[in-house]
Structure formats: structure tokens, C-alpha cells
Amino acid sequence: MNLKLLEYALLSVRRRAGKHMFVFLTFTILIAAVLSVFTVAEALKKEAGYSLGNLPDITVQKITGGRQQYIPAVSAEEITLLPGVLSAVPRIWGLYRFEYLNTNLTIVGLDIFDPFLSKTMSDITDTIDVKELRKGSVMFTGEKLNETIKSIYGSSEFSFQKPDGEYITLKTAGTFKTASGMLSADTVITDTETAAHILGIPPEYAADIAVNISNPQEISTAAEKISNLNPSFKVTTSEIIKASYQNMFDYKSGLFLLFFTACILTFAVTVFDRLSGISGEEKRETAILKAIGWDTGDVLRVRLYESAVITLTAFPAAVIISLAYVYLMQAPGLKTVFIGHSYLRPDFIIPFSFDLSVLAAVFFVTVPVYTASVIIPSWRAASSDPGEVIR
């Protein structure tokens, strides 16, 4: 690097401070906005990822006439007999419409005689007494839901209306730890019998069957065998669910990518328009430099340094703005765009997720555009006859 040329480039940036400040601010804001959007999207993806890694290998549901039906629990026994199947467990769960808050609660019924239940429940709740669960009429809820119930009804009890119109009142026996808030805020865990009553699932039926396979490489084969058992079985593998979530995030990020592409094009047009019409003063400056003995390479190097000064300062500035906006300020405005509004939404702290590849992609998309829009007009000016320009 030629320090004297750099010194000259810095003087040149200072001389035309207005023009360069405009490009610097546009550049910084554009990069900071793109980084912020992708960071928030990535953080939400990361949160969803915690639930996707712990799904049963295969979920079997029953669909007839394009609608989901409850599946006979006895089907689990048929599935267990298939080679390679480790376990097949009928599950009781479903959504309960909580009209007051215009939201859905996830009701999950757990087998109170499961020997591992106490251990897992103690991992996710602060106060756990499985005996309470065995007594019936109790539930474990997300913290946010418990707070909401208390604020509405003044107690920790909630009356669920069964499909036949009768009510079942459950008392909150414990809440899930705050760390699971993003997954558990709307969830109610109770025993299977109570959950089945609330959801209207008849005895000997289940919402679906969770199947685990002993060899992960045999999941697709097992899925095929299960779907061959009954034409009404809809078999969903954990891979399909993961791909569906990936698709959803890609779709949402894709919309922002379109927005980003439009921004980049606007940026390119603006910068090109701003810089390609090289001013008479700049032409004269180039001509004088050439007249006093500078060659075209030196002139271009000065312009390259000028653009480097702008881009090299804009990038760290954009990273600082983006990190401060997303994490220190918790992305006001943008966070709402992504997660909308819900009375049951937990206080969501955006988990750290900063994709350096996005930063690199933005760098390679914007910097060459800007550099080219500086260099090409300067090269044209430096190629013209200096005497003629000065005259």
C-alpha cells in the first residue's frame, strides 16, 4: 500500500465530504438493516430447532375424507410388531381454543405410569410432584399462561369446556421453567384421561401414534411399511417436519431477500447515478494530476483507496449498529414484524445467532458494485487527454 496515495485519497474524501458521507450512510444503513433481519430470522430458527431435534422418528395420523380422525390406540400394537420398530406409543394431545385471548392452548396428556416421567418433569419444572398428577384435576402450564389465568380469574384454576359443554376444572400444580418459555408458553400438561376428556378423544383412541425406530437408516423403510398397514394412515417422518420448517423459514427469509435485492438494486442505481456523472472539478483534478506526471494507475489507485475508506469504515459501523439494535435494544419494530402479537407470547430474548456468511455475502454483493461505480468513470476521465480537459 502506498501511504502517500492513501493520504491523498483521505484528503480527497474530506474535500468532497458531503458526497462521501451520503454513500457512507446509505451503505451502513443498508448493511445494518440486512444483518438485523437475517439475525432475527436466524434466532427464531434456532429456537424452533430445539424442538425439532427431539421429535419421534415417525408420527402416524389417520386421515379420511381429507380430515384428521382419531386413530385407534390398538393400531400402535400392529405397528410395534413391524420389524425395526423400537416403540409405538399412542399420544393424547390437541389444541384447545381459548376464545378469551383468541389463541390456542396445546393440551398434552402424559402417561402418569411412565417410569421416566418424574425425571423428565423435574428437568423442566421448578416444583414437581407427580403424585399430584396421578390424583388428577391438576395441570402443569407455561409460566405466561399461568400468569394470564391468574390475572383473569384471580386463581390458579382453569375450567376447560369439554365438547359436550360440561366443564373440567384443573388446578395449576406447577409451571415450566422460564428457559423453555418459547416452547411451553401455551402448553398444558395433564394426565391422559383428563386430556382426552378436554379434547373429546373417545376411549381407546388417540390423536396420533409416536413411533421410534431402532436404526435411523431404516426410518423411510419403516414409514413405508406403516403406511402399507392402512390406506388412511398419514405417516410423517421427523425429516419431513424438519424440511417443512426449513421451507417455512426459507419462504419468510425469501420475502426479505426479495426486499434486500430491491434495496441492493436501488443502492447500485443511486451510487452509480451519484458517481458516474463525474464532476468537472474531478475531471480537472484528474487532468492536473496526469499533467504533473501521475500515470493512470496512480489515479485509479487513489479512487480505489477512496472507495476502500468508505466501505471499510461502513462495515464495522454496520455490524456495531446491527448488534446493538438486535441484542442490546432487542430489535424494536423488527421483532414485532417477525413474531406478531399474542397475549400468550413469552418474553422472548433473542438468542445469539450472528451469521458471518451473511456478512460476507453482503460484502461481496455491495463492495464490487460500489468500487466499479467509482473506478469505471475515473478510468474514463484518466484516459482522456489532460491538455484538452484543462483547456
Binding site: E7, L10, L11, L44, A48, Y50, S51, L52, G53, N54, L55, T59, Q61, G66, R67, R91, W93, L95, T103, N104, T106, V108, T120, D123, I124, A179, S180, G181, M182, L183, S184, A185, D186, T187, I189, A210, K234, T236, I240, S244, Y245, Q246, G254, L312, T313, P316, A317, I320, L323, Y327, L328, I339, G340, R345, F348, I349, I350, P351, F352, F354
Partner: protein, 92 residues
């Protein structure tokens, strides 16, 4: 030479500030191993996918499983709704 030193100092300051903020936010906002373990335990207990962010629509919560007949959750690469549908439309 004076201007180069000022610019170099400013650039260094910006890079160090960005790196420091990156390290600070990384340390402060990355969920702890215990928190991650709690989330995983909860997910393995219920065996249901998705976050509690979208609980208004039945098809958003526990996508694929809560509304299996819904067009949005039929398949991850649905020709009806997927972005690739433009390819099929063009091929007709």
C-alpha cells in the same frame, strides 16, 4: 501521514468495538447449556414441533401435525405453495 494515522486509528477503533460487541452479545445472549437442556427435555416430553410464537392459527402451531390436511403443511415442497411452483407453471 497524519491523516493516514487518524484513519488507521478510527478503523482500528471500529473493528475492535465491533469485535468487542460481538463477543459481549455472544456471551450475554447465547443460551446456557442448562437452558438448552431444559428446552430439549421439554421437547422430548411432548414430542411436538415448533415454538409458541404463533398460537393463534391452528396450522402454524405444531405445523404438519396439528392440521395435516391443511395445504400449507401438506408437504415441504408442495407444488401448490412452494416457491418452485414457478418452474412447473413455466413447464406447462
Amino acid at each position: 501521514m497524519n491523516k493516514s494515522i487518524v484513519f488507521g486509528t478510527l478503523l482500528l477503533f471500529l473493528i475492535i468495538s465491533a469485535a468487542s460487541l460481538y463477543m459481549y452479545t455472544s456471551a450475554r445472549f447465547t443460551p446456557s447449556a442448562v437452558d438448552i437442556s431444559v428446552r430439549r427435555s421439554f421437547a422430548s416430553l411432548t414430542g411436538l414441533p415448533g415454538t409458541a410464537v404463533y398460537s393463534e392459527n391452528g396450522y402454524e402451531r405444531h405445523r404438519n401435525l396439528s392440521a395435516p390436511a391443511d395445504i400449507l403443511s401438506k408437504g415441504p415442497f408442495s407444488m401448490d405453495t412452494g416457491l418452485a411452483s414457478a418452474v412447473y407453471t413455466g413447464a406447462r
